[in-house]
């Protein structure tokens, strides 16, 4: 593979991976647990808020549908990808920041930003999200994907908790 082809491939991979966060944000704003869980594999690990460990796309969809219908009903999610880093040709990390907007809230404080970290793995020809974690409380999604990229989580995330300041600082590290 020549350098130009390699660059093109890398850019395409990054774009595919970045789409996962956007898909999840759009699913949140539609209130669709099924769409939210769509990027996750059948065996994904998802550590929800309060430390609840969900296993697989179905559980992730059901749990998030309940959350959309109750805890975060009426809210909107905004966010952006900070960076995508390739560990090797089959494994990548994606960092993002999201924030929950309450109804009637014109804007939210940067201190309420929540950092998301995804581990994505290429399986067959598609990327799959291996793991995803979120700063603040121990709330992690474990995305994975189908379609353009397919994520699969292989193990739950640990209890690494990112501080708000770190999350805010990482916002400057955009691809």
């Amino acid at each position: 593979m020549n350098s130009q082809t390699a660059q093109t491939t890398t850019a395409a991979n990054k774009s595919a991976i970045r789409d996962f966060l956007h898909q999840m944000i759009e699913a949140w704003n539609r209130g669709s647990g099924e769409d939210f869980a769509a990027p996750f594999s059948e065996t994904a690990d998802f550590i929800a808020f309060k430390g609840m460990h969900l296993k697989g796309r179905k559980e992730i969809a059901a749990f998030n549908q309940q959350t959309f219908d109750t805890v975060v009903k009426g809210t909107r999610l905004e966010g952006e990808v900070n960076f995508v880093r390739f560990v090797n040709s089959q494994l990548a990390l994606m960092s993002g920041v999201v924030r929950v907007m309450l109804p009637g809230q014109p804007e939210t404080s940067p201190s309420r930003d929540s950092m998301q970290l995804f581990v994505v793995m290429k399986r067959d020809r598609d990327w799959q999200n291996e793991r995803h974690r979120r700063k603040r409380t121990v709330y992690h999604f474990a995305p994975l994907a189908r379609s353009a990229a397919r994520f699969r989580s292989t193990a739950p995330f640990g209890r690494c908790v990112f501080r708000t300041q770190q999350a805010a600082g990482n916002q400057t590290r955009r691809d």
Binding site: F49, V71, G74, V100, P103, G104, Q105, S114, K135, R136
Partner: protein, 340 residues
């Protein structure tokens, strides 16, 4: 558990049953706040209404007078109808109260359960929730920042505006007062603000799912559990014996809530309904110190733990002497029983 009193500054009733004048009513209210301070109670709250039977429309003024007469008790609104107010002015008033009281001020903000403030200050009830959300956003921004840039729909924008005075307490305590609307519980949790739940009827334990929603929303938003405090506000009255409390409290309670019920579509208050509310799971905290302490303990367990309880007792046409005695009993007998 902290224990306190909430008052709507009702126009008082004399011992012979006649209505007191407003000057006397305010003077007696201030005496009751002093009594609460002497009796070891933790907090005294003054509501906000714009009706002839309540004298609390300028609650910060009453609280400021109380601050100058008391030493230890915390002083709060209960609640400030934020939707109908200017958050800048409200903050200035309570920041000043905080300075006068040397750091004993708090604020409970809510949408208001009566509606008269909306036409009075030129707001539409159609904006009931949206206007509260926006003004709460501004209030919190002012609390957390000395200089504010802000714009919204219901108030002129602020551009690099400094707001003074700054309160002594950092952060200044702001609670959210809620009734039974899930959205209000969710909002308080998401913002990580402590919650005052007004349960003035029905069975207290039925609010557990809403309080769980508050705590889940708070956890979801990353707030530490210890910041997600719950305070219970209920109608109550304590006398030396349960029989005395019931005999003194029921007639005025029935009259007041039958009258309010006519405005809100509630049925007239009956003795049977009152007795049911006074039962094991009912919301009314009426009885002897021992009985009421036990009931609050049960309520706390059923709600997953509360950190504060406040008694609303002066809208049942009790006279000043009865209220003074009740406050003394709550502070010197009920509260120690509850906390030991």
């Amino acid at each position: 558990m902290e224990v306190g009193i909430d008052s709507f500054a009702s126009v008082g009733t004399s011992e012979n049953g006649e209505t007191a004048d407003a000057t006397q009513s305010i003077a007696e209210l201030l005496e009751r706040i002093e009594q609460a301070d002497r009796s070891g109670l933790d907090i005294f709250g003054i509501g906000e209404h714009h009706r002839h039977e309540f004298l609390d429309s300028a609650n910060a003024v009453i609280l400021a007078a109380a601050a100058a007469r008391t030493e230890r008790i915390r002083l709060t609104s209960a609640v400030t109808v934020l939707s109908a107010a200017d958050p800048v002015r409200v903050f200035q008033q309570f920041a000043t109260l905080d300075l006068i009281s040397k750091g004993r001020a708090e604020m409970v903000v809510g949408r208001g359960s009566f509606t008269e403030a909306f036409p009075l200050f030129g707001f539409s009830l159609g904006d009931y929730d949206e206007i509260f959300a926006e003004k709460l956003d501004l209030l919190l921004k002012i609390r957390d920042n000395e200089t504010v840039d802000w714009s919204g729909k219901f108030r002129p924008a602020l551009e690099n505006q400094a707001i003074y005075p700054r309160p002594l307490q950092k952060p200044f305590p702001i609670w959210i007062g809620v009734g039974g609307t899930p959205q209000s519980f969710r909002r308080a949790g998401m913002l990580g603000l402590p919650l005052v739940v007004a349960i003035i009827g029905g069975e207290t334990h039925r609010f557990r799912s809403l309080i769980d929603l508050y705590r889940d929303a708070g956890a979801y938003a990353g707030h530490a559990p210890e910041t997600l405090k719950v305070s219970l506000h209920s109608i109550g009255y304590v006398a030396d014996t349960t029989e005395q409390a019931v005999e003194e409290f029921f007639p005025g309670y029935a009259e007041t809530f039958t009258r309010i019920g006519r405005e809100r579509g509630w049925p007239p208050v009956t003795r049977a309904a009152f007795d049911a509310q006074r039962g094991t799971t009912g919301a009314l905290l009426v009885g002897s110190p021992e009985e009421v302490a036990e009931k609050i303990r049960r309520h706390s367990e059923s709600l997953g733990g509360i950190s504060r309880v406040t008694f609303q007792m002066d809208n049942a046409q009790m006279n000043h002497a009865q209220l003074m005695r009740s406050i003394e009993l709550i502070g010197t007998r009920m509260s120690p029983l509850l906390n030991n």
